[in-house]
Structures are given as structure tokens and as C-alpha cells.
């Protein structure tokens, strides 16, 4: 009788134990998006795509569904970041927690040290910690390529740059753009303006009009949603053009495809996927990782222009503006120059 009880107890203990060993747990990904949320056709959607692609690979490996692998949240407000980071980390369920957006850095600096065994990734900002990988991109490279297009295609020899605020991130864009324009066309003048707001296209349009009226015929910028105003202003006059930022904006704002010549690209999707796959392959490490043309990864920035995929940096755009062949050739020269170090960009 005693023996039977022992056997039953042993079975009760062992069976679930063995079962759990038999089916290895798929590593789970926790994704905390930036406040713009999904559907922004930009930063968040791209980050989600990267995480989703990685999740699909993991799911296929472990024979589970993508939903089992990837959990994501869309914070409505900056104040919610810390709560979600704590909640995800505290659950202990996630092999890696990916935080999107520079404004998650401040809460992550508080949360990450509390969970030293939890792997974190932050995109677009640097957080120092033994368990945090910071993903940054060489934004100035996409800006440089846009500058090349502007420098080649301007007819007035004046081009414009519209930034959201004069902060290091945006100054990097501005410097890349200016150097690109002057590399392609030494005679070009670059007007630089800042909106002071990230989500005010009305003001963005007014600032763009000012630069167009001052002689600029192509305007690039990094001003979030305020940049949409540049496209609206460009529509008001023949010969006024604009360049998109981070994603192919001729595709995301198709009504302005007639004025958007090209768009700089920031391949957040590739960077996020790469970080998650490093975790899966066991090569994940804390630290700062730069993605871009001139990095160990060799990818992360580029430009959407023309109607052909030229190489991994120059991909096709939905733009309706005719781009001469010389411009594409010059872009190839520029991308190669950046990659082999003959073109040095001061961000």
C-alpha cells in the first residue's frame, strides 16, 4: 500500500516534469512600442515588423504560433512606459524585452537594474547597463544620401532642412544632409529651420513655405508628424519638392507622391530582428550597437528612390517624381564611399 502511494506521488511529480522537458519552451519576446502606436506606417510599424519576422522564425523552430512568441503593448502615454517595462520584466516570461523609442530610456534606466537577469533592448537611445543592448542607427547616413539627391536636383542651388527641435539626434540629420548636398554640389546653400514641435504639421507647413519663398526648392527634414506639413506646402507651387524621412513617405503619404522625390530609410525592422535573432542564437550581448552602412552589420540605413531596387541601400520608392539616372549613379557612389570609408560624415 505504501509503495503504491509512493509510486503515485512519484508519477504525479515526474510526469509534468518530464513533459516540460520534452517540449522546450520557445523564448518569448515582449515588445513595448512608442506612444505613436501601431499604424504609424513608420517607426512603430517597422519595429513591429522586425519583431514579428523574428517571432515567425522562432515559432517555426518550436512548432508554436507567432502569438505564443510575441507579446506587445502600445502605451498611450509616456507615463505608461515604466509600468509596462516593470510588468513585462516582473512576469519573468520574456527572454527579451524590446523597448521602442528614445523616451523609454529614462524609465528603463530605473527598471533594468532591478532585473539583472532580464535582457532588454532599447531602440533609438543609449541606456548603459549589463543587461541592456542599445540600438542606434547612423541617421546621418540616410540624411547624407538625401542631401546628395537634393544637391543634384536643386535648380536654385538652395535647399532646406526642417528639424523638429535642435537636439543632437536631429543635428546629426542636419549635418549629414548638409554634407551630402555639398558633396554632390559644392555651390549649394542649405537653409536650416526648426519647428519646435513634433506633431504640428500646420506649423511645419508654414516653416516650409518660408524656406521655399526664400529660394529653396527641395526640403528634407526630421520633425516627426510636423514634417507632413512640408509635403502640403510643396503642393502649393510647381517646382517645390520635398524628401521623406525614415520610411518611403511616397508610399505612406501617397497623395504627396508627386512632390516627394525620395525618402531616407532607417531600417529599424532589420535592427530589431537582428537583436532578437542574436538572443535566439546565443550571441546576444549588452552594449551599444550602431546599425548603418558604415557598421559591422552593414545595414540599417538607406534611401528609397527611383523605381528599381539597386542594392541593399538604394531601394525603390513609390514616388512619381522622375529621378535622372545620374542621381542614382551618384547615390551608388555615395553609398559605396560611406561603406568603404572614403566619405567621412561628421554627424
Amino acid at each position: 500500500m505504501k509503495r503504491w502511494v509512493a509510486v503515485v506521488i512519484a508519477a504525479l511529480v515526474l510526469v509534468p516534469l518530464v513533459a516540460s522537458v520534452g517540449v522546450a519552451q520557445a523564448p518569448k519576446i515582449g515588445l513595448i512600442l512608442a506612444t505613436g502606436g501601431l499604424g504609424d506606417r513608420s517607426f512603430n510599424d517597422q519595429s513591429f515588423k522586425g519583431a514579428d519576422d523574428a517571432a515567425a522564425v522562432i515559432a517555426a523552430q518550436y512548432g508554436v504560433t507567432v502569438e505564443d512568441v510575441l507579446d506587445y503593448v502600445e502605451p498611450a502615454d509616456i507615463a505608461e512606459y515604466e509600468g509596462f517595462q516593470l510588468q513585462f520584466a516582473d512576469s519573468g516570461e520574456y527572454a527579451i524585452i524590446v523597448c521602442i523609442g528614445f523616451d523609454q530610456a529614462a524609465p528603463l534606466e530605473i527598471v533594468a537594474p532591478q532585473y539583472p537577469d532580464q535582457k532588454f533592448v532599447i531602440v533609438d537611445m543609449v541606456v548603459i547597463g549589463d543587461n541592456v543592448a542599445s540600438v542606434v542607427t547612423n541617421d546621418w547616413e540616410e540624411a547624407f544620401l538625401c542631401g546628395v539627391v537634393a544637391g543634384m536636383m536643386t535648380e536654385t542651388n538652395v535647399v532646406g532642412f526642417e528639424g523638429g527641435m535642435e537636439i543632437p539626434l536631429i543635428i546629426g540629420f542636419m549635418n549629414g544632409y548638409t554634407q551630402g548636398a555639398q558633396w554632390a554640389n559644392p555651390d549649394v546653400d542649405v537653409l536650416v529651420r526648426y519647428v519646435g514641435e513634433w506633431a504640428n504639421p500646420t506649423l511645419g507647413a508654414e516653416l516650409a513655405r518660408e524656406m521655399y519663398n526664400a529660394g529653396a526648392d527641395i526640403i528634407y527634414g526630421a520633425a516627426g508628424k510636423s514634417h507632413l506639413g512640408v509635403f502640403a506646402a510643396a503642393e502649393e507651387n510647381d517646382g517645390w519638392y520635398a524628401l521623406g524621412t525614415d520610411v518611403d513617405q511616397a508610399a505612406t503619404a501617397p497623395e504627396h507622391a508627386d512632390v516627394i522625390i525620395a525618402s531616407g530609410l532607417k531600417r529599424v525592422d532589420l535592427a530589431v530582428e537582428s537583436e532578437i535573432m542574436k538572443m535566439v542564437n546565443g550571441t546576444w550581448a549588452a552594449g551599444i550597437f550602431s546599425y548603418g552602412i558604415l557598421t559591422d552589420f552593414g545595414f540599417g540605413t538607406g534611401i528609397a528612390v527611383g523605381n528599381l531596387d539597386v542594392n541593399q541601400y538604394i531601394t525603390k520608392s513609390e514616388s512619381e517624381v522622375e529621378v535622372p539616372c545620374e542621381v542614382i549613379l551618384k547615390l551608388i557612389e555615395a553609398a559605396n564611399g560611406i561603406a568603404d570609408g572614403t566619405i567621412v560624415i561628421e554627424p
Binding site: G39, G196, A199, T202
Partner: protein
Amino acid sequence: MDVLKDIFTIHLVLSALRLASPIALVALGETFSERVGIINVGVEGTAVLGALISALVAYFTGSPWIALIAAPIAGGLAGGLHALWCIRFRANHVVSGIGINILVAGLALFITSSVWGWRGTSTYSDTINTWYITGAALVIIIVSQIFLFRTKWGLRLRVVGEKPEAADTAGINVHRTRYIYTILNGVLCGLAGAFFFNSVGRFTSGMVGGRGFIGIAAMVIGNYTPVGALGAALLFGFIDALQMRLQSFIPSQFSIMLPYLLTVLVLAFFIRRANVPAALGKHYVKQ
């Protein structure tokens, strides 16, 4: 001298007019409602609502003109809600106004994400030229100035804000008057919102960006008169347009600050005797 010639062009004037238009409309609306004794700090949210409804109606009907009619109606409803709260239920005016701002902020996120799947932003729709709205604003302001100070209705509404008991004794329906002009405030803010939408053809939740609050400041600087409000709005618009041009010469951080700094300075040093209506923010209970 050449630099000055580059800055002070016709484009500077046009830019100032464009930047001033929505502020002037909000300031005019607030002038009406405060003249009858109702403070409405919900003008910011009401303008956001006007822009949102413009985008929504333009998206579903495809007609920017129908959208232009819908925006003031939506604004009027928000004004009506505020009036109901403040007059019927005797809520604190400021609290009710803040409530409208928060309500609209939430509504904007909800509507944009459920209609366009894009949080805080709409897709593009065709627009009308914003100069129509600017032109209308100028006409409305001049008419309002005459209405307020040269007609018996203007006199009545001013009495309601100064001494509601006297108005009541004279047979003026205090509550009805307050309802009418608070709703009118909403209508004008809705029109300001339509200006924001039509300036770029889409809605974003940050596009009003505090211009509604600047409208309240413009009303105070304008000393509760329509033409004064226009002048204050034009001053702000002019400095804002000027700072964009000055960015070539001075750091952007200072430049961007200028219009706001100026507003604070003018409010602090030049407005010695504001004509604040005596019954402003007070509930009127019939004896």
C-alpha cells in the same frame, strides 16, 4: 540692409496673417463668452475637435466644403456642452473647460485609431484654400466689433456679463444669452479647427499645439474687444513668422521662444487695466 529686405517681404505679412487667423478666431469666440460671464478654457480642445471633425467629414463625404460646415457645428456642440455644465449644473467654469480638453484629446485618439488605424493622425483629404477662412475671420471680427459696441444686442450681452441681476430686471434672459454666446464661442473655435485641418489636409492630435490657449491670452491683451483680439493675434502671428526668418541668425531655441515670451511680457507689463467683466465666472441664480 539687404538682410532686412530679405526678411521683411510680402511673404512675412502673409505668413503672419495665416498664423494669426486661428488665434484671432479663438480670441474672438472667447471674447463673446467672457463678455457674458462664461470662462471657457476648453477652446483648445474645441479647436482640436473642429480639426478632427473636418478630417472625419472630409474623409467620409469627400467634400471639404461640407467639412467646413461640420467643424463649426461640432465646435458649437462642445460649446453647448460647456454651457450646459456651467449654466445648468453650475460647474466650475475652468474645471469644465479642462474636462473638454481632456475629453477631446481622448476622443481624437479613439476616432483616429478606429477610423484610420493611425493613432492621433488621419489620412489626407482634399482641402479648401485657408485664405477663405482667414478672409471670413477678418469680416466676422469687424462685424463683431460693431455688433458688440453699436447694437442693442451687444449692449445686452455685455450687461449679462457685468451685472446679470440688472439684465434680468430689464427683462433680458440671462441664461439664454449665456447659452447663445458660449455656443458661438464653440462655433468660432470649430472654425479655427477647420483652418488647421485645411492648412495641411489631415488631422494630427498636436496640430493646434496650444494656439487655443494663446487665443485666450490674445483676448486678454485685446482687452475683451474683437478688434483688440485681432491685433493681439496679429502681433503673435507676426512675431512667430519673424522668428522663423530669424533662425538664420540666432539659435532656434531662442527664436522659437520669442512669440511666447512676448505674450508673457505684454500680459505682465502692458495690460494695466483689463476690462474684466464683473460677473465673469460667477453663476447666476435667479432670486
